[in-house]
């Protein structure tokens, strides 16, 4: 369907069907995973084992619609709106502090029946804006003082707002993505290191001198060697994966999702399905992920201009960072922070954002040399 309708107007190239098929497959895996890991909780909390699945299906349909829409628009045309869009997003990031805190943090805006996490959407807008801005031919990327003055304040404010929510995980993801985009844009390695060093210093100071999240970091260090020595969450995640073994307990038969493993259908879904499907089939999921990323980078490489290159590269990078942080946490390679796994975890915002990223990649895949 998508193929037919996208054939004509603005391009001569066909859409990247491999990416589309991989994306659809991953989406299906996600729905099965959500049902399998959420049915018990849905039953006990909401009285219906289908509660979460139903929600997720609605979001999946919305996401597909979104993908379809995005593949049909001219992305470059919206570039002029990137600065106002960025300012609006900063406003939204500030607005969360007016909302009611949930579990002690203010990350969400409640608009009618919808719960929106502005930081997720900010990520998209930021990558889009950066791609547009950095592709400016007059920009001298080697002039790093100029770059710092131009990009430092707007990005710094956004990161500050997000870190104050507090949402350290998203902050790190966005920061890593920003660094990655600059790296792709051709920033000097020396500059990147100089920019990153004081931040690392501040982080180390915060953790080890002030003691902010010190326990979590110490837990993490302990869990690297023996996952059972880590925090309760990472211990349960490791146990859950371990119990799966090579072949898994069978779909739906995991025992850890019964309130042992926290957030089995969102942040720790990778572990929960790891117990049920086992290592071998988990590797297939990893291959799907890798293939999506690979297609993303391939599209970036094939872009006719720097804007497309940075946009495709940045979005793919952002998907990767999300996957890496989530899987890293679940496999006890990274300290615990709550981030959803793209395409798989239950949650509308995450699915929609990841799908939009895929939609943009599909859109870009049709562009040819100008």
């Amino acid at each position: 369907m998508v193929r037919k309708t996208t054939k004509a107007r603005q391009s001569e190239k066909r859409i990247d069907e491999r990416l589309l098929v991989t994306y659809l497959l991953t989406l299906e895996v996600g729905l099965v995973a959500v049902y399998s890991t959420s049915s018990m909780i849905a039953e006990s909390r909401f009285g219906s084992h289908l509660f979460f699945l139903r929600q997720q299906i609605i979001w999946a349909v919305l996401s597909l619609l979104m993908v379809w829409v995005i593949t049909r628009i001219n992305l470059v045309r919206f570039a002029v709106y990137s600065v106002p869009a960025y300012v609006i997003m900063l406003g939204a990031l500030a607005a969360v502090f007016l909302a009611e805190p949930v579990n002690g943090s203010q990350r969400w805006l409640f608009i009618g029946p919808l719960t929106v996490q502005p930081s997720e959407f900010f990520k998209l807008v930021m990558i889009y804006s950066l791609a547009f801005s950095l592709s400016n031919r007059e920009l001298n990327i080697a002039n790093w003082q100029g770059l710092l003055l131009k990009y430092g304040p707007p990005i710094g404010v956004a990161l500050l707002l997000i870190v104050l929510e507090p949402d350290l995980g998203t902050t790190i993801v966005i920061f890593s993505t920003v660094v990655g985009v600059f790296f792709l844009a051709g920033a000097r390695m020396k500059h990147l290191l100089v920019a990153a060093t004081p931040l690392a210093g501040i982080a180390a100071f915060l953790v080890f001198v002030i003691g902010y999240k010190k326990v979590r970091i110490l837990d993490y260090i302990a869990s690297l060697a023996d996952p059972l020595q880590g925090s309760y969450q990472s211990m349960q995640a490791a146990l859950t994966l371990g119990a799966g073994g090579l072949f898994g307990a069978g779909l739906g038969d995991g025992s850890q999702k019964l309130f042992f493993l926290p957030y089995p259908h969102t942040d720790f879904i990778f572990a929960a399905i790891g117990e049920e499907i086992g290592l071998l089939r988990l590797l297939i999921l990893l291959l799907l992920f890798m293939y999506i990323l690979f297609r993303g980078f391939k599209i970036a490489m094939a872009q006719p201009d720097k804007f497309g290159y940075l946009l495709a590269g940045g979005l793919t990078l952002s998907l990767f960072v999300n996957m890496a942080v989530n899987i890293g946490v679940v496999t006890c390679l990274l300290p615990v922070t709550g981030l959803p796994l793209p395409f798989i975890s239950y949650g509308g915002s995450s699915l929609l954002i990841s799908s939009i990223a895929v939609g943009v990649l599909l859109n870009l895949s049709r562009r040819v040399k100008a």
Partner: protein
């Protein structure tokens, strides 16, 4: 070439980083899911599965006629298991208002803690449980537990004993047979989730609880009730400090009733000892029956011979024996009937201390009866090595020896049954899960303690005591009682002789005289002002015997029209229907319907009484008796 070299290199670097990361993830997954898998899956198994114990219901206790005297009722108990602080605080507040406590006190009072199990109150009433069930917040839960219930109230409680909150026997029969009654708890595999909800998974992995054995006591609860009633009114009437009594079947040794009554006893619902086996006392004149047995066995008695009783005062060595009355020449029979100390002492001296001592041992004194009940004493019989004549005389009249009531009842049972000392038993049989009876306990003869001919003579003497002697108050027109009275001074606890004004009044005997069925003893401690056994303990004994006869006419009224039948229906217990007032014909068909066959000796009439009464269980060996009035129409 679409992109610059720099861009391609940088993209490749990122792609390499991606590949490197996924490589590390795969290695980590292999580490977790392959290398650590055996250990981890074991831990997961352990934290998500477990076993719950399925408590075995405690065995039911029946009396000898199948009346339920101890059974189980389920009660709810409330416990707390708050998952988090909010549940903890709510539970605390709820309990404050539930038990009208000051705000905030119940949290510390009950030691509430998150993720910790605490009993709040066990065995609460049904109404409270219902209330809690509908109103309690999360964190407070109910669990049903079984509790021991004694449908007969305090009757026989001293024998039954009691159980603690965990259903373990703490005294009496409940303690003595705890291992049989308790059964063994079963186990079931369960799956547990992180919030402590439990799921039963596999029925196959279930170890069934071994039910506690239901046991049938030899006690006849009707006699027990009579005994306790009479002891209570007797202690009251004769102004005694306390009283006790024991009755046994003199042919089987089965204990039919045992009780003590002390108005000052604390916590009668939690009896810790049974004085009929734990208290020892100097029996006094009732022991003369044993002396008489020894004398008769030694052929020292010529029934027409008389002995001079010294007109009530006889010096032995430096001490003097007294009689209550100034008796002159008495035959042996008269010595027994009038309970002459001097007369029996003279025979005892003729017999010699060794033989008397031996007889006392033969009759079971100085040894435990092995009823398995706790606190049983053996009594005391001194060995005759350095006995003076006075001590022999004292023993002959029941002093310088200590016994307990049950020992004395067994001794009189031996006299009543023709001379065989029987092992007293409390457990008649056990009931299997399907209602069958097994392990029927056989009677055990410990030994022959006297010649049958001696026993015959002694029984006649003892009957004479009631008819003509010291126990004429015991003589009943309804049932023929035989026995011996006793009035003993109480030994001072400091060991310096006896109280001059404190007495132990007793009567030991058996009935009916012609064909003895039941032997027993009644003892009153310090009755005032009348302290003679024949006037205090004796009448109590008589009333017990009479009452027992009223409820057991089939045992006594030989000539009555009765039909008696064995009831066997696959060897199982059967509930008895109410047949009173029915015609014989319909009674027969009803009974047959229940699996009871009535053997008829007459073919017409109305049932006027029945035994066992309705709603009792009938055991295969038991008999159902019916009294039939000839239909005059």
């Amino acid at each position: 070439m679409k992109r610059t070299r720099m861009e391609r290199v940088r993209l490749s670097v990122i792609l390499a980083a991606v590949c490197l990361f996924f490589g590390i993830v795969v290695l980590r997954l292999v580490h977790l899911q392959v290398l650590l898998q055996p250990r981890y899956s074991q831990i997961v198994q352990r934290q998500s599965s477990g076993t719950v114990s399925i408590p075995a219901p405690r065995g039911i206790i029946y009396d000898r006629h199948g009346k339920v005297v101890a059974n189980n009722v389920t009660r709810s108990s409330i416990y707390s298991y708050p998952m988090n602080d909010r549940e903890l605080i709510r539970a605390g507040r709820y309990l404050d208002s539930l038990f009208n406590l000051q705000r905030g006190t119940s949290q510390s009072k009950y030691g509430l803690k998150t993720r910790k199990f605490r009993w709040i109150k066990r065995r609460i009433s049904d109404e409270l449980a219902n209330h809690i069930d509908t109103t309690a917040p999360k964190g407070l839960y109910l669990r049903t537990e079984t509790q021991r219930e004694y449908p007969q109230g305090l009757i026989g409680k001293q024998i039954l004993g009691f159980t603690d909150i965990d259903n373990r026997g703490q005294s009496g029969f409940e303690l003595a047979y705890d291992s049989l009654l308790a059964g063994r708890d079963g186990k079931a595999d369960i799956r547990r989730d992180g919030e402590r909800n439990l799921y039963r998974v596999k029925e196959s992995a279930l170890i069934k609880p071994e039910l506690g054995k239901s046991l049938v006591l030899t006690i006849d609860w009707r006699l027990q009730e009579i005994l306790e009633d009479e002891l209570r009114s007797g202690v009251d009437k004769y102004n005694a400090k306390s009283g006790q009594g024991a009755f046994v079947d003199c042919h089987t040794g089965e204990i039919l009733a045992m009780a003590h009554y002390d108005p000052n006893e604390k916590k009668p619902e939690h009896p810790v000892k049974l004085r009929t086996i734990s208290d020892q006392f100097e029996p006094g004149s009732i022991f003369k029956a044993i002396t008489a047995a020894a004398v008769l066995d030694a052929d020292l008695v010529n029934f027409s011979d008389t002995v001079y009783c010294e007109m009530g005062k006889w010096k032995i060595g430096r001490r003097t024996l007294h009689d209550d009355k100034e008796h002159g020449w008495l035959t042996f029979r008269e010595i027994m009937e009038l309970s002459s100390n001097i007369g029996i002492a003279k025979y005892a001296l003729k017999l010699g201390g060794d033989l008397l001592y031996q007889k006392a041992l033969d009759f079971g004194f100085g040894q435990r009866l092995n009823t398995r009940l706790g606190g049983e004493t053996r009594g005391r019989v001194h060995s005759p090595d350095r006995w003076s004549d006075y001590i022999v005389a004292a023993l002959a009249m029941g002093h310088s020896i200590a016994v307990n009531s049950l020992q004395m009842a067994m001794a009189f049972a031996a006299i009543a049954n023709g001379g065989e000392l029987l092992q007293p038993s409390l457990l008649m049989c056990s009931v299997t899960e399907k209602g069958r009876l097994d392990n029927q306990c056989d009677l055990t003869v410990i030994r022959r303690v006297m010649k049958e001919s001696s026993a015959d003579s002694l029984r006649a003497f003892l009957r004479g005591v009631v008819e003509r002697g010291t126990a004429t108050k015991v003589n009943s027109s309804a049932v023929t009682i035989a026995g011996k009275t006793g009035t003993a001074e109480i030994v001072r606890p400091d060991g310096r002789g006896y109280f001059k004004n404190k007495f132990m009044a007793s009567f030991a005997g058996f009935f009916p005289y012609e064909e003895p069925k039941i032997a027993g003893i009644v003892v009153l401690c310090e009755p005032k002002p009348v302290h003679y056994g024949g006037y205090t303990a004796g009448p109590i004994f008589r009333r017990i015997a009479e009452n027992y006869m009223v409820i057991n006419p089939d045992l006594f009224a030989a000539g009555c029209q009765t039909i008696i039948t064995n009831t066997v229906k696959n060897g199982q217990t059967v509930e008895v229907p109410d047949l009173i007032g029915r015609s014989l014909e319909s009674a027969c068909s009803i009974a047959e319907h229940c699996g009871i066959r009535l053997r008829q000796t007459t073919d017409k009439g109305i049932i006027i009484w029945q035994y066992p009464t309705a709603d009792r269980l009938v055991f295969p060996s038991d008999e159902v008796g019916q009294g039939i009035e000839e239909n005059t129409h």
